[in-house]
Subunit: 470 residues, 2 copies
C-alpha cells in the first residue's frame, strides 16, 4: 500500500476528483475574519498578498490578559477543524480564553491567487509549512496589536494531525509567540527518510485485530481472492455487482482502483474509530471498526469473503444508507484540500509508505521514492526533498524544545509516526490506548473511555502550568 502519502488525506490516487462541499452548520458561535498576509514571508521580491481567513470567539475571554487558544489550521477548510475540536470550546470558559482558528494557506477560502493557483506550479511555490507557520506568527502579532487587552495574552497552540505537527513546530520555531502547544496525533516522525515505512499499515492492522482477528485474516486473504475472481470469466461483472459499483470494472487497473477504495476505507476507519457516532471524515456509528468487521468476523473465503467485504464497506461508504451505487473513482470526504496536500506531499511532506503483507493485512508493496518523485515531477514540476523536514524541524532531537504535549491515540495508525515517549519534563507524551486520531481534541462525550478523559485532564494541567510560568 505504497500509494498513500498524507495525514488526513490518505489514498490520494482515488480521491482526486472528490467534490468539495460546504460545511454549513456549527454548534459553536464564532465570527469569521480575514487578515491580509504576505504571500512570501521569506523573500522580498514578491510583494503580493492574500486574505487569510480565521474564526474568532471571544465570548469566554477575559479581556484583562486572558489567554489566546490558537488552532493552527491544517489541510482543509478551517470550519471543519473548528467544529471537530470541541476540546478547545469545552475548556475556553474555565481558562477565560479567546479562541482563534486560523486557516492554512491554500486551503478553504485562504488561497493565494485563488483556485487558478492549483493549475500553475509557480503560484504553488508559497505552499509550505514554513510559510504557514509564519502566517500564524504574523496573525498573532496582529491580533495582539489590534485587540485591546490582548497584548500581554499568552498563546497556546492546538492542532491535530498535520495541524498538530504545525502546533509543535510553531512552539519550536516561534516560542516568542506561543507559550506551549498541544500536538494531538501529530506524526512528526513519519516524514523522515529513516521512517519505518510499514509501521502505519501494521498499526491499522492492529486496530482491526483488536476488534476481530478473523476480520484481519479475512482481509489478508481478500486481495488474492479479488485477483482470482477478477481473472475468471465474468469475474469483473460479478465484482461490480457484489460491490454495487456505479460503473462496472473493465480492466486490471479498475481492480486496483477497487482495492484502493477498500484500503482507503480500512485506513480511515482505524483513524476515526471513535467510541460514539461521529461525522468527522464520514458519518459513522460508534466503534466503526467493530461494525465494519461484523460481516467478516468468521473465517470466510471465495465469494462469501467478497460478499462479506462488500457489506463491510457499507459502514464507511454508506452508513446513512443514501447511496445506491458506489463511484470508487471519487472520494467522499468534504472540506479537505486534495490538491494542496498532494502538492505538499510532493515537496516537503514525504512519508515513506509500504506494506509487507505479513505483519500487516495489506498486499505487499514497496516504497519506491524514484517512482514517487517521477509522479511529482509530472503533476507539479517539483521534486520532493525527503531530507528537509528533518533538518528544519529537528528530527528526533527534541532536547532543546519545551512546552509541547504530544498526545496519541493508539488505535490511530498515525500514532506509528508520533512521539510516544516523553522527551523531557516539558516535552511530554500522553498515550490514549483506546483513542483514535486526535480523540482528545474532540468535545467531551459520555461514551469517552476513561483514558481520553484522563488525557484531557493532564493536558489541562500542563496548559495551566504554562500559563502560570513567566
Amino acid at each position: 500500500m505504497a500509494f498513500h502519502s498524507s495525514v488526513l488525506l490518505k489514498s490520494k490516487k482515488i480521491q482526486k476528483n472528490r467534490k468539495v462541499s460546504k460545511f454549513s452548520t456549527s454548534d459553536y458561535n464564532y465570527k469569521t475574519e480575514y487578515f491580509t498576509q504576505k504571500v512570501d514571508h521569506f523573500g522580498f521580491v514578491n510583494q503580493d498578498t492574500y486574505q487569510q481567513r480565521y474564526l474568532i470567539a471571544d465570548q469566554y475571554w477575559d479581556p484583562n490578559g486572558g489567554p489566546i487558544f490558537l488552532y493552527t489550521g491544517n489541510e482543509g477548510d478551517i470550519t471543519l477543524f473548528c467544529n471537530n475540536t470541541g476540546f478547545m470550546w469545552d475548556i475556553a470558559p474555565e481558562f477565560k480564553a479567546m479562541l482563534i482558528f486560523a486557516e492554512h494557506r491554500y486551503y478553504g477560502t485562504s488561497i493565494p491567487y485563488g483556485q487558478t493557483a492549483f493549475k500553475d506550479p509557480k503560484k504553488m511555490n508559497f505552499l509550505t509549512s514554513e510559510q504557514a507557520l509564519a502566517d500564524y506568527a504574523v496573525l498573532i502579532k496582529h491580533i495582539k496589536s489590534s485587540i485591546p487587552g490582548s497584548s500581554q495574552s499568552k498563546v497556546i497552540a492546538f492542532g491535530g494531525s498535520y495541524g498538530g505537527m504545525l502546533a509543535a513546530w510553531f512552539r519550536m520555531k516561534y516560542p516568542n509567540v506561543v507559550q506551549g502547544s498541544l500536538a494531538a496525533s501529530a506524526p512528526i516522525w513519519t516524514f523522515r527518510k529513516e521512517a519505518d515505512c510499514d509501521a502505519f499499515d501494521r498499526t491499522v492492522t492492529g486496530t482491526f485485530r483488536k476488534s476481530s482477528s478473523a476480520c484481519v485474516d479475512n482481509i489478508k486473504a481478500l486481495w488474492k481472492t479479488l485477483n482470482t475472481t477478477a481473472s475468471q470469466a465474468s469475474g469483473l461483472s460479478k465484482l461490480s455487482e457484489i460491490f454495487h459499483l456505479c460503473k462496472p470494472l473493465k480492466s486490471a487497473d479498475d481492480v486496483t482502483t477497487l482495492k484502493n477504495w477498500i484500503v482507503s476505507a480500512l485506513v480511515y476507519l482505524a483513524m476515526v474509530d471513535y467510541p460514539y457516532p461521529s461525522k468527522f471524515l464520514a458519518p459513522l456509528p460508534a466503534w466503526p471498526v467493530k461494525e465494519t468487521c461484523r460481516p467478516i468476523s468468521t473465517p470466510l473465503n471465495g465469494d462469501n469473503l467478497i460478499i462479506g467485504t462488500a457489506k463491510a464497506m457499507n459502514v464507511f461508504y454508506n452508513y446513512t444508507g443514501s447511496t445506491s451505487c458506489f463511484d470508487i473513482g471519487s472520494g467522499d470526504i468534504p472540506n479537505l484540500g486534495i490538491s494542496g496536500w498532494d502538492y505538499q506531499s510532493c515537496t516537503e511532506m514525504v512519508a515513506p509508505s509500504c506494506s509487507n503483507g505479513k505483519t500487516d493485512m495489506f498486499e505487499k508493496s514497496a516504497w519506491d521514492f524514484k517512482e514517487y518523485t517521477n509522479g511529482c515531477l509530472k503533476n507539479w514540476k517539483v521534486k520532493p526533498d525527503i531530507n528537509w523536514i528533518e533538518t528544519q524541524y529537528w528530527g528526533k532531537n527534541l532536547s532543546a524544545a519545551s512546552n509541547i504535549i504530544f498526545s496519541n491515540g493508539l488505535l490511530d495508525p498515525w500514532s506509528s509516526g508520533g512521539v510516544l515517549k516523553s522527551q523531557s519534563d516539558s516535552v511530554v507524551a500522553i498515550l490514549i490506548p483506546n483513542g483514535a486520531h486526535h480523540l482528545d481534541l474532540r468535545g467531551s462525550n459520555k461514551a469517552d473511555p476513561a483514558d481520553v478523559v484522563s488525557a484531557r485532564n493532564q493536558e489541562k494541567k500542563y496548559i495551566a502550568t504554562w500559563l502560570k510560568s513567566p
Copy 2:
C-alpha cells in the same frame, strides 16, 4: 547620522564604490571546499543551485567524534573572518575540534547567479538570513554524512557581528544541528522597530570620551565649524586643501560627503579600538581611538579644529602613510560585500538609526523610515519590513533559548544593541569593558586586557559544558 545601516558596513552612502581586493595571506592552514546548495530552501519551484565556499581545517580534529567548530559567515569574504577569528584556531587543539568557516551566500565567491545577481532584484530574492541559516544547517548535515567519524560530532557555532547574530539564531532555529553558540558582538536587538535609535552614536561618543573628553567636545563643535568654513569665500578649497582631498569640494553635497567620511572613520575606530595594532577593517595602531584623539585633545576651534581633525583622520585612513590624497567618495575596507549588505538592510535588517547632538557628538539627525523605504524601492525595488526580524528571531523574548553566549565589548558601539544581561542559566551575557567589536574572537595577544582573557576563559568553560551534555 541616520545614514548608516549595517553592522560591519557602516556609512553605506560613502562606501558604495569601494574596491574589493583579495585577501591573499593567512597565518592559518586550511583547505577550501565547495558545496552545492539549493538557491531556495523555502520553495520548490526554483531548483537552481549555487556553490557555497567553505574553509575546513581538520589537523586538530579527533576523528573519533571530536567536535566541529563552525563559523557562521557574515557579510563578506569568508577568508577575512577566518583570518580574524584566531580564538577558534587558538582553542581547536585543546578541544580536538574540526574548524569550518562557511561563507554567507551572496558574499565572497558564494554568489548565486554570479555578480550579475546584484543588477537583478529577482536574483537577489534569495539573500536572506533564513536562507543563510538553512545553508549552514544543510552544510553541517553534508559534512556529518560525508566525513568519516563526524556523524556524532557535536557542533558549536561561532560568529561575530552579523555572523554572531547568525550563530545565535542558528542555535535558536536549528538546535538539532548546533549544540551551542558563541555570539560575539551580535547586536540582535538593534534590528527592531522599538530599538533606541540614538544608542549607537551615544556609545561611539562614550568610547571617544574614555580617551579624551576634549576630543569629544571638539568633534561636537566640528560640524558647525565645517559649515561655517564651507560657506565662506574660498571655504571649499580651504577645506579640500586641509583634508588633502583628491577632488576638491564643489557643493554643499560634497561637504556632506566629507562629513560622512569623517563620521565613518569615527564609528569604525570605536568598533576596532583594539589594544594592539590590527588590520581588520584598516591597518591601525594599538588603541586607535586614543591615537585619533591625540591631535584634538585640547580645546580647539576655527581653522585649528579643522586642521586637527584632518590630522586625526590620518590614523584611520592613512596609517601606513601610503596615501597622498583622499578619495572621500570611495571606501577603504576590502572583502566586505557592500551590495549584499545594502540589499539586506533594505529587506530584513533594518536598524533604526539617529543622533541627537546632545548625548552624542554627531550632528542631529532623525530616523526617517519613509525616506529609507523610498531609497530601497529605488535601488532594489523592495520594501523593508521592520517587524519581521523580531517575529522571526524572538525579539526580547529569549526564554525558550538555550546554550548561547552573548559577549560584548563595551567600547564597541554595536554593544548598544546587544544582549548585555544573562537571560537564563544557559543564555548568558559576558561583558568586556575594555573590548571593542568582538575582540574575544580574535587570537590571543600579550596586549589583551585582563577582561578579554577572562571572557575567553568563561567561553571555553561554557563550550566544554555544552560538549559534555547529552
